[in-house]
């Protein structure tokens, strides 16, 4: 009699549970049926979606392998693959600057693999044991808002010192080293132009801090504010800077005469990958002209890493005038953690 009071909801619970169970079973049946037909592959992309998506769609079309990917800034992607080390959720880490991959090698998250293109690549585009291989080269640039320059009677910055000009006070945006590989590459660039003298390098970064309005979570995060004039300028990868220009914003791209770093953009197979075979296929494809000759078609301004692929003419023209040096992966591997920690402690506050 009274028991029914409690068993009535019990019955309701059972019904709902059954319905839910059936729904879940149905969904998973559909999903597994879909999976059975095609090979799938999971990746974290450090490249923003607008670069990664067209490339991975081209790969799907070429190989018949379905790619699921999620985009994260490089610090976040690295944090994730480290966290998932014992139970990797993805097979491939796609795109992202060399310093991130160097840090990953140090953490032991990658499975060595040498694709067919390995032997043809210059040394700076591959890790000796094949822990990562480059798929592009991406120089940093200074990007400034043309209208701002005009209004303040400035020329586009042509030296690291130019960025310290008080005219830029509170008007620069650049990436946050806690999350972004663009920022870490920037820090290494500053170290290189200061002869790897840490004290000098950090003294400069602290001075630059005075002019920074905002450190953005993602490397390209400041491009639109610069394009719109919300910010006056910043330091970005060329691929993001040229995209801003292509969208019709009036921005100037310039290089410091002391030189600026370029980061090899990598790809790597994760240790314990569940779809390792499909992952290797993606690496084969991405490190070869098959993918890199598509950059121009999709208006993606990466410099191809493969020597057989021509750099798109206008991009090559821009780079001709610049002094660019590669970010050294061994130096990055040894110092990344230390520099980021120091940047947070001394520069950020």
């Amino acid at each position: 009699m009274v028991e029914a009071i409690a068993t009535e909801p019990g019955r309701v619970v059972r019904r709902i549970a059954t319905a839910l169970g059936m729904a879940v079973a149905g969904i998973s049946a559909v999903l597994s049926a879909a999976q059975a037909q095609t090979q799938t592959l999971n990746a974290y992309s450090i490249w923003p979606e607008n670069w990664a998506r067209p490339m991975l769609q081209e790969f799907e079309a070429a190989s018949g392998i379905k790619v699921n990917f999620l985009r994260f800034s490089s610090g976040e992607a690295l944090a994730r693959v480290m966290a998932e080390k014992n139970n990797p959720r993805v097979d491939v880490l796609f795109g992202g600057p060399v310093e991130t991959f160097a840090a990953g090698v140090k953490e032991g998250v990658f499975e060595p693999y040498k694709p067919p293109a390995f032997a043809e690549l210059p040394e700076r585009f591959r890790e000796a044991n094949g822990h990562w291989v480059a798929i592009a080269d991406d120089p940093l640039v200074f990007m400034t808002n043309a209208k701002f320059l005009k209004e303040n009677g400035l020329k586009a910055p042509a030296s690291w010192e130019d960025l310290l000009n008080p005219a830029y006070r509170n008007m620069l945006q650049m990436a946050d080293a806690r999350t972004s590989g663009t920022a870490v590459t920037r820090i290494f660039s500053v170290m290189e132009v200061n002869g790897r003298d840490e004290e000098k390098g950090f003294a400069y970064l602290k001075k630059l801090r005075q002019n920074v309005q905002l450190y953005t979570k993602s490397g390209g995060g400041g491009t639109l504010p610069v394009g719109l004039g919300q910010a006056a300028g910043g330091i970005f990868f060329i691929v993001d800077a040229l995209d801003t220009k292509a969208k019709g914003y009036d921005v100037e791209i310039s290089f410091p005469r002391e030189g600026i770093g370029t980061a090899a953009e990598g790809i790597a197979l994760l240790k314990g990958a569940k779809n390792a075979e499909a992952g290797r296929k993606l690496i084969d494809w991405a490190t070869s002209p098959a993918m890199q000759s598509l950059y121009a078609k999709h208006k993606i301004n990466f410099v191809p890493a493969h020597p057989k692929v021509e750099t798109e003419a206008s991009l090559a023209g821009i780079l001709k005038q610049a002094k660019i040096f590669p970010i050294d992966d061994a130096y990055a591997q040894d110092n990344r953690k230390k520099f980021v920690a120091r940047w947070i402690a001394e520069v950020l506050p």
């Binding site: 009699m1 009274v2 028991e3 029914a4 009071i5 409690a6 009535e8 909801p9 019990g10 309701v12 619970v13 709902i16 839910l20 879940v24 969904i27 999971n42 974290y44 923003p48 979606e49 607008n50 699921n68 990917f69 999620l70 985009r71 994260f72 610090g75 976040e76 690295l78 944090a79 994730r80 966290a83 998932e84 014992n86 139970n87 959720r89 993805v90 509170n170 946050d176 806690r178 309005q213 905002l214 953005t216 979570k217 993602s218 390209g220 995060g221 639109l224 504010p225 394009g227 719109l228 004039g229 919300q230 969208k247 019709g248 914003y249 980021v340 947070i344 402690a345 950020l348 506050p349």
Partner: protein
């Protein structure tokens, strides 16, 4: 008399109720207490030894100390300004003798921030108040204004959360009725004097309550500061998030969230046990005569309504801007109309939309059911530990989402309970975090009628099942739907806890919006936001229609939905 004690004794030994209570207790232990324990262990245990070294290490960093004080400052300001705004709206709605249409308009303007993802207004604010903002630069011709920092974050959070204060205060002010004022006036009291000596003192508990709710919301909000606070104004939830997602420093993140836990708990306890118990009810023996207000003078009325309209229009402007941003090529540069962004979210964003809807739709009935069961056990069960059960059920709701998310990440990342990356963990997070609305609604409903009514039904010969169907079920159905509605809405809009739980298999719209915003793909971010708002509006309307069908005369308690 004899019969009732017999019934009661039988109820105590009711096995089904006991089993349900045990199952719920087990779930609470697993999904609430265990993660919290794991978090605390990460903070206070180093190498198996108890230690406060990690805590001291984090507090030694000036950036983190600043984050602590900034969080408190921001929360206090949001609490004060938001409560003032909420009071303005509630007072106007209750006393300015507005027609139903106007009140409806204010309601719609204040509902929008409650049902949209918590940082959507940030998009519009940046475009309105930045160095080249539509308002600061184009309209007012100001130069070099920066929105990043305390001012921008404060504006965004206040606009987002003041509706909670409005919804909290409106019943308080309406309940006072005008009768009391009329009495005072007829005794010769002047309007302002009356406001000071009668209205305000009576509203004090309501004001304190609203302040504490807003304080808690601001304390827990991580997405708004992530976008607007800039770097000179770090706050705790955002710092904890960056510590974990950027540096994978679980311990640092845990310590920072522990530091956040202290004020959050203080506020919760104050709200629950100090303010919550003091509600003044004005009993006049006559129902308050609606509309015939003499509470405000005509001049004051114009002032009040004008101020409310200004705020409401500003909120609507922000949302109009959001819709505009979702419909043009590149906001701020190329204003050609396009549906491209919507195409993008329904093709490339399809997975996020599908995942979110699946999670929300599974979490919805589970959350509603869980709320009703816990509420029923607390209100009708008779066993030691009921209070403990209720408190445990409220823990995840009282804590800022950042803490819950980090605790789940730490607790469920390794075998034997490796649940991170599954949909289950996200659903559990929502169910245990957002069901308290349903729990409270159930308890309130069941307290409305005395147990003796059920006993009467039984002693008159109704079968237990009949009693449950005829007496108890109609009572708790509204609570079930209200609870379920809130769980659905929060599943569509919350981010602060689940940002740590998304994975390659299960991702969420809110996380995509945030990612899009940091990549500055504002078009898709705006389109996603508009989509979420529309879906949530439809569901809110449906749930409210259902509640009206059930003739309960109550609406979904949206006020219990603060925080990301």
């Amino acid at each position: 008399m004899m019969a009732t004690t017999a019934v009661r004794r039988r109820r105590m030994r009711d096995p089904a109720l006991a089993i349900t209570a045990l199952v719920i207790a087990g779930l609470l232990a697993f999904f609430v207490l265990y993660p919290l324990g794991a978090l605390l262990a990460r903070v206070f245990v180093v190498g198996g030894e108890p230690s406060i070294a990690p805590l001291l290490e984090v507090l030694a960093q000036p950036n983190h100390r600043a984050a602590f004080f900034n969080s408190l400052l921001l929360a206090t300001l949001v609490g004060v300004i938001g409560t003032a705004l909420g009071f303005l709206f509630a007072f106007t709605a209750a006393r300015a003798g507005l027609s139903a249409g106007w009140v409806r308009f204010l309601d719609i303007a204040t509902l929008l921030p409650l049902i949209s993802p918590p940082f959507t207004t940030s998009i519009s604010l940046i475009f309105s108040f930045g160095p080249r903002g539509l308002i600061t630069h184009d309209l007012l011709g100001l130069k070099g204004v920066t929105i990043y920092g305390l001012s921008g974050t404060l504006a965004a959070e206040t606009l987002t959360y003041f509706p909670i204060a409005y919804l909290t205060l409106r019943p308080v002010l309406s309940a006072m009725g005008n009768t009391l004022d009329e009495m005072a006036m007829s005794l010769g009291s002047r309007r302002l004097h009356l406001f000071r000596t009668v209205t305000l003192p009576l509203a004090v508990p309501g004001l304190a309550n609203a302040f504490l709710l807003l304080f808690a919301c601001s304390l827990a909000d991580f997405a708004t500061p992530l976008i607007l606070a800039g770097n000179r104004f770090p706050v705790l939830p955002t710092e904890a998030y960056l510590q974990i997602t950027g540096l994978f420093d679980l311990q640092g993140g845990a310590v920072l969230s522990f530091v956040l836990l202290v004020p959050a708990l203080v506020v919760y306890v104050a709200q629950r046990y100090w303010v919550g118990r003091r509600q003044y009810v004005t009993v006049t023996g006559k129902s308050g005569s609606a509309g015939s207000s003499k509470g405000v003078s005509p001049a004051a009325r114009i002032l009040l309504v004008g101020a409310c309209l200004l705020v409401a229009l500003f909120v609507l402007y922000l949302y109009a801007l959001l819709i505009f941003a979702s419909l043009v090529q590149a906001f701020g540069a190329n204003h050609t109309w396009t549906l491209d962004h919507y195409r993008v979210i329904f093709t490339e964003g399809q997975k996020a939309i599908g995942d979110t809807l699946i999670i929300a739709l599974i979490g919805m009935p589970l959350g509603g059911l869980y709320g009703v069961l816990v509420g029923y056990i607390v209100a009708r069960g008779r066993f030691a530990g009921r209070q403990v059960l209720e408190m445990a059920a409220m823990v995840n709701y009282a804590l800022p989402g950042t803490i819950v998310g980090i605790a789940y990440l730490i607790a469920f990342n390794d075998p034997p309970v490796a649940l991170t990356g599954t949909a289950l963990i996200i659903i559990a997070c929502y169910v245990f975090r957002y069901s308290p609305t349903g729990i409270r609604a159930t308890i309130a409903q069941l307290h409305q009628i005395d147990r003796s009514l059920e006993e009467a039904s039984e002693s008159l010969g109704a079968k237990g099942g009949t009693t449950f169907r005829r007496v108890v079920l109609p009572l708790i159905m509204p609570a079930f739907f209200a609870g379920l509605g809130v769980v659905f809405i929060r599943s569509m809009t919350a981010i602060s806890a689940t940002i740590f739980l998304v994975s390659i298999d299960w991702t969420l719209i809110t996380v995509r919006i945030l990612e899009n915003m940091t990549e500055l793909a504002l078009g898709p971010a705006a389109a996603f936001s508009v989509f979420v708002i529309i879906v949530v509006m439809i569901v809110t309307a449906a749930v409210n229609a259902l509640l009206r069908r059930l003739r309960t005369g109550q609406e979904m308690p949206v006020a219990g939905m603060g925080g990301g």
